[in-house]
């Protein structure tokens, strides 16, 4: 009998019979939440075992670190005040007076960097193991979008403490979209909430960081996880025929996952205790930009790349071309499953070249700036 028919019937439904040996709560949850179905899916899920299995843990690690960010972010929300007059002081209060506030804020800041790093590593492993092959194209696309969202979280969160470094780095960062021909200046104005970085930008970035990005991420992440569940783990071609061993996701893979998660918690706690995330000096919009302004490490290669571009290339502003190139690179990343032609190594070579260039630019950006006052 279908559900609709049953509900329309006037005959009272018989009470569910308790399973012998099961507690009342478990039985209650089983009947109302479909616990058995979930347990069945978990029990059925298996993970392939081969020499690249280690890379499967990166996805779980990224998810775990994201949840750490959500948890610590919610705790910070309780004290943070999103205005240019109070933002810095509220973080100062969190760091100095709120019990374990320093721990939560430092874990949030260090965790953000670790999260972006792990997302990069996860994406790279999926790329080089060609896990985006059909039918997993959309898993790749949602993953690439999640990387952009992670970068968006990093960029918007960087400004929130309203310190000098963040203020000027955001000034530079929000200037980048202005280079896009046609709509650039409008985009930059929308991002800043005005012609320059101000308290309006802070409110905007706060909204983006705690509402817009989490909402979008929840949807995309849900789709990503659903697709992973739907298609299972991809096995690299090179080991496809050599192994057919698997292990159950619950508890074997999950326990291994947990070892990594616990190690990550330990690492974050150690970083927070020995290197609490600095707060710096409160932003002064009227002060001149201090030396050594640079964005977070994951944007450094773009920042440095734009600096090296000549002012004009074939009559077009160099920065405009640079921004368009980064846009094309992002589009190419999303389109990887369709750009990869079977039997050709072109895309892998291109990716390695981009990675080497990005690494060199990042190192160059990290090198100390030679003093201009030296004789």
């Amino acid at each position: 009998m279908s559900e609709a028919k049953r509900s329309s019937s006037s005959v009272p439904e018989p009470a569910p019979q308790p399973v012998p040996g099961e507690g009342g709560i478990r039985a209650w949850a089983r009947d109302r939440l479909g616990w058995d179905d979930l347990a069945h899916i978990a029990a059925k899920k298996r993970v392939p075992v081969h020499r690249y299995t280690l890379f499967y843990y990166l996805g779980g690690m990224a998810l775990f670190l994201f949840l750490v960010q959500v948890a610590t972010g919610i705790l910070l929300l309780l004290y943070y005040r999103p205005s240019s007059a109070e933002a810095f002081e509220s973080i100062q209060y969190v760091m100095a007076d709120v019990p374990f506030g320093w721990l939560i804020r430092s874990i949030h800041s260090w965790g953000a960097n670790l999260f972006v790093g792990v997302v990069f590593a996860h994406l790279a492993s999926v790329f080089f193991l060609k896990a985006y092959r059909p039918p997993r194209e959309m898993t790749w696309v949602t993953g690439a979008v999640l990387l952009f969202l992670a970068l968006g979280f990093g960029f918007s969160g960087y400004l929130l403490p309203w310190n000098t470094l963040a203020f000027f780095a955001t000034k530079v960062g929000t200037d980048v979209p202005a280079q896009i021909p046609g709509i650039g200046h409008l985009l930059s104005r929308i991002l800043r909430g005005g012609s320059d970085v101000s308290g309006a930008t802070l409110s905007r970035f706060y909204g983006i960081h705690v509402a817009i990005l989490p909402a979008v991420t929840t949807l995309i992440l849900g789709a990503h996880l659903l697709l992973v569940q739907r298609h299972g783990m991809s096995v690299p071609r090179s080991v496809e025929k050599r192994t057919n061993r698997t292990m159950p996701f619950v508890p074997d893979f999950l326990m291994r996952d947990m070892v990594g998660w616990l190690a990550a918690v330990g690492l974050l706690a150690a970083l927070a205790a020995f290197f609490p995330w600095e707060l710096g000096v409160k932003a002064d919009p009227f002060a001149s930009a201090p030396a050594g302004i640079r964005p977070e490490w994951y944007f450094l290669w773009m920042f440095q790349g734009l600096k090296y571009l000549p002012s004009k290339i074939a009559g077009i502003p160099g920065e405009t071309l640079g921004v368009l190139f980064f846009g094309a690179l992002a589009a190419a990343l999303v389109a990887v499953p369709w750009l990869d032609r079977r039997g050709k190594r072109g895309i892998a070579v291109a990716a390695v070249l981009v990675l080497i260039a990005a690494a060199v630019l990042t190192v160059l950006a990290l090198l100390p700036v030679p003093s201009a006052t030296k004789p």
Binding site: R46, P48, V49, Q92, M95, A96, W102, L103, N244, R245, T246, M247, P248, P251, D252, M255, R256, M258, V259, L262, A263, V265, G266, A269, A270, A273, F274, F275, P276, E278, L279
Partner: protein, 426 residues
């Protein structure tokens, strides 16, 4: 007819000679024969001034050569152009220059047309200056307007090209006052610039670019330049160091200094070589300022020692607190509020040092006591943050221990279950 022509000629001549006395035209004359001839002659004596004048502030305002030198700029013939009947004076003598400049610069109605904020008392001031008085007595080696401002190519004082612009005025004064032979003739020292360049004022002005720090004219005046008199030194220093000057006037030193003819501030701080004061000024020894008047074990020496002990004590406590706070900051602790206390303690030390000018140990002691309270609070804040650092590290090791135990337990569990649960895939 001849009478009419004579009258006309006389009118033209009168108008021409009157130009040196009257305000300039609204627009420069179409022909300035002086520049044309003096440039074309290519004479190293007369050509450079003519070229320089093109960039002169007066030239830009429409003044021409004849306003200072007289003569007739419209004449091509040199004799006619340089006709004394038309007011030609040639190169003004040093004694003529102040009066010549003052002709316009002392005329409020005229100056208002060009720069309403411009002062018009320069000539009056100059006459009261050492330079002005000596010039009046016939000494033409002293400075007059052109010595400092230049004769041609004069720039506004605010223009950095001007020799009297704020960053160049000291070198300009030193041009004469550093000339040993010239100064010896006037029985003046030739080392004021050298001494000033070792002073705190020089460091502030030249090294740190603080234009509010004094240069020569800040203390001596500019047009009325003269050495401050014994009785007015405290007033001169007090224009900037207001508190010190007020305190000094309330101190037991004020009357005796006046009676003995001692020049106030300069007695202890020197005039040009004003070095950073230190507690050593109050101690016995080479740097002591008190011991030159107060014998050892006298009431004055004891008062100096008491003030010094208080200041050294507070300075030591602040240094100790700073070390603690710095250590906490290096460990990544949030110390901004403790920094406020350190700043307050440092301010109290500054206040206590300024109280020295009252020469009353009780006043210094009160300010020091205030500073000690905040310095100790800062030190306690630094200590508390270092304790917090240790607590965090202990907590971390406990947490890492628990994490490690859990990881080991998981690894054991994985090893136990792994062998049985792995099975070939479907």
């Amino acid at each position: 007819m001849r009478d009419r022509l004579l009258v006309l000629a006389l009118l033209v001549a009168a108008a021409s000679s009157a130009r040196a006395q009257s305000p300039p035209p609204k627009s420069p004359p179409a022909v300035n024969g002086c520049i044309e001839c003096h440039t074309a002659l290519d004479d190293p004596r007369i050509t450079p001034p003519a070229k320089l004048f093109a960039d002169d502030v007066h030239a830009k305002a429409g003044f021409t050569c004849v306003f200072c030198h007289g003569g007739d700029a419209r004449q091509e013939d040199q004799e006619k152009a340089h006709d004394p009947a038309k007011g030609f004076i040639g190169k003004p003598t040093p004694r003529q220059i102040p009066e010549l400049c003052g002709k316009c610069h002392s005329d409020p109605a005229l100056m208002k047309q060009y720069d309403p904020s411009q002062r018009v008392d320069q000539l009056a001031e100059y006459r009261t200056s050492g330079h002005g008085k000596m010039l009046a007595e016939g000494d033409t080696t002293v400075a007059q307007c052109a010595s400092c401002h230049g004769a041609h190519g004069i720039q506004p004082v605010k223009d950095s090209r001007s020799p009297v612009s704020p960053t160049k005025v000291a070198q300009t004064c030193n041009h004469c006052h550093g000339d040993a032979a010239l100064m010896a003739a006037h029985k003046l020292p030739s080392d004021p610039y050298e001494k000033w360049s070792r002073s705190v004022h020089y460091r502030a002005r030249v090294e740190r670019g603080d234009l509010s720090a004094p240069t020569c004219n800040s203390c001596h005046g500019n047009h009325g330049a003269a050495p401050p008199q014994v009785g007015s030194v405290a007033n001169v220093c007090g224009t900037c160091h207001v508190t010190f000057a007020d305190q000094f006037k309330l101190s037991p030193h004020w009357e005796p200094f006046k009676d003995m003819g001692l020049p106030g501030c300069v007695t202890c701080h020197e005039n040009h070589e004003i070095v950073k004061p230190s507690e050593a000024f109050l101690a016995e020894g080479e740097q002591s300022k008190c011991s030159s008047c107060h014998e050892a074990d006298s009431a004055g020496a004891r008062a100096a020692a008491a003030m010094r002990a208080d200041l050294v004590g507070l300075d030591g406590e602040i240094r100790q607190a700073t070390r603690l706070v710095d250590r906490a900051a290096e460990a990544g602790m949030e110390v901004s509020r403790v920094h406020f206390d350190l700043v307050a303690a440092t301010n109290a030390l500054t206040k206590a040092r300024s109280q020295v000018h009252l020469f009353r140990p009780s006043a210094v002691h009160a300010a020091v006591a205030e500073g000690l309270t905040v310095a100790r609070k800062a030190a306690a804040g630094g200590q508390a943050r270092l304790k917090e650092r240790d607590f965090r590290r202990r907590g971390l090791f406990v947490s890492l221990g628990l994490i490690l135990v859990t990881i080991v337990a998981l690894v054991v569990k994985i090893r136990e279950g792994g062998r049985s649960s792995r099975e070939p895939g479907e």
